[in-house]
């Protein structure tokens, strides 16, 4: 496998509180190469979103971060506000959970998608627009010109998330961080967006850090998985190994509590059986 594009070493994030120091992330390390999907899975409060925010330098003011984050061979953990802007977007693209809140409601899609490239790469508006069109095609939008002229509220939830992904692809980042990208979407739309992420990985060779609470999504989408709880990585490895032969008790518990359609039917059946006796 190629050298890791993103390398996180001994990352910790703490918050000072009245009751002492709170460890949101407690000494985690992982690598992400291009062309692979690494999933961070955990329940709320496990630190998975904090991890992505640290990589993007988007942590709240009060947070204190230590450790080393390397992107494309460069240590970014100590970069200043100006320098990090070259990393954001250009090296690492980010997709958030709620596409409506991350898109500007009063700007057309064309305007929002060209802003980044014009600012970062110094390309002309016209070239940026051409790239935007290609990116929209890349995410499976059949009529890019129509979408470019529209405002976010005119698009459905799934289309908005596609536009978000397309916008983050415009700068050709090495990796994408997708923080619960499908949580707000309907299952059939979720399925399309997940197919799209896998397609981007295969076709463009993007590395994807997929943050999710849904272990079913991990099972069918990710190559590797890190199970997080209380700011720590408890178990990490290839998806088949971690989910197939879980070693940590928490991973086992997470798998046990994950409800599938088949399990649901079985458990209900058992319940009815007990009620009858």
């Amino acid at each position: 496998m190629s050298a890791p594009y993103l390398s996180v070493r001994n990352l910790s994030v703490t918050f000072p509180t009245k009751a002492g120091t709170f460890h949101a992330i407690d000494d985690i390390s992982f690598d992400l190469a291009r062309g692979e999907i690494l999933a961070l899975v955990g329940e709320s409060g496990s630190g998975k979103s904090m991890t992505s925010l640290s990589i993007m330098h988007l942590l709240p003011e009060a947070a204190e971060m230590s450790g080393r984050i390397e992107i494309d061979g460069r240590d970014i953990s100590a970069l200043g506000r100006r320098e990090i802007e070259d990393v954001r977007g250009a090296k690492v693209g980010m997709i958030f959970q709620e596409p409506m809140t991350s898109l500007n409601p009063v700007l057309t899609i064309a305007r929002q998608m060209t802003e980044g490239p014009v600012r970062h790469n110094g390309v002309s508006r016209r070239d940026a627009l051409a790239t935007a069109r290609t990116c929209l095609e890349d995410v499976g939008i059949a009529e890019p010109d129509r979408v470019l002229a529209q405002y976010p509220h005119q698009l459905s939830g799934g289309m908005r998330q596609r536009v978000m992904i397309a916008a983050s692809l415009a700068l050709q980042p090495g990796i994408l961080i997708a923080d619960e990208p499908t949580t707000a979407l309907d299952v059939t739309v979720q399925s399309q967006v997940l197919d799209l992420l896998v397609d981007l990985k295969a076709r463009l060779g993007s590395g994807i850090l997929l943050i999710t609470h849904d272990i079913g999504v991990v099972a069918e989408t990710a190559d590797r998985v890190a199970v997080m709880r209380g700011g720590r990585i408890l178990e990490m490895g290839a998806v088949d190994n971690v989910l197939g032969v879980p070693q940590h008790d928490y991973t086992k518990a997470l798998l046990a509590s994950h409800l599938t359609v088949e399990k649901g039917l079985m458990q209900r059946g058992a319940q009815c059986e007990r009620a009858r006796q």
């Binding site: 299952v187 069918e220 989910l243 518990a253 509590s257 359609v261 399990k263 649901g264 039917l265 009620a275």
Partner: protein, 295 residues
Amino acid sequence: MTSKPLLRVEGLRKSFSANRHTVHALNGVSLALEQGETLGIIGESGSGKSTLGRIAVGLETPTAGELHVEGMRIDTMSPRLRRDKLRRCQMIFQDPYSSLNPRLPVGRQIGEGLFARGESDWRAIDATVADLLDRVGLKREFAKRYPHEFSGGQRQRIAIARALAPDPHIVVADEPVSALDVSIQAQILDLLAELKKQGDLSYIFISHDMAVVARLCDRVAVMHRGRIVECGSVSAIIENPQHPYTRNLLDAVPRFGRRRTGQKPVVVRLPLHNDGDCFIDVGEGHVVLQSASSE
């Protein structure tokens, strides 16, 4: 029919209009909830499932159609009588953070349902509230606390206690576990099942999550664009789905042992249904909406 259904809707329609646009949330929905059953309503956003639930508890009034509760048609009743009847229908909402009043102790919020029923002695109400907290697995002393002192799962238990306070026969639960972590989801589903066993309860359980529906429901109605497209026992729907939309929905659920390849799946054209379309029975009460034009 020998036993009257607890709740029955017939040809229910609801449209909302805003900015000269009319949105048809329900396009003629007929459905019956039998005594003691859990009826699941599954569908995606905009399918009309929440509107149906809100009409069943009286939070919305239908544009057309009939609503019968315990054998009586109530949509034509006077508001006062209707309110009285609808006290038997209570609701649990999705978001336990926004559905509780942050400025009232939870005991007070649970007690309001009893007060509204005509109980005026708050000492008696407090005793009943403590019993209710007990039933939903919380400590009796919690009545004095405020919502922010509880976790999401605990708040949903409080919302359940509040729904149970007026001694309802029908509880409509609208995505009650969607906002919760998986480990908490199972606890709340078990609690709902347990409460049903104890009392004289029937549920309408609204959800987008097939796995949750499979776990809790006896029957399930699949909704799409304001219509029920398929209805039957939960095992029939899951093991033998007939409508293309139901198949799409089931196929989209993430599962173990399948890998996404990035290949675009074959897009299935969903039939557009008209008002004239009829259900066909494929056995044991499993019905599918058949498009008249496609045949």
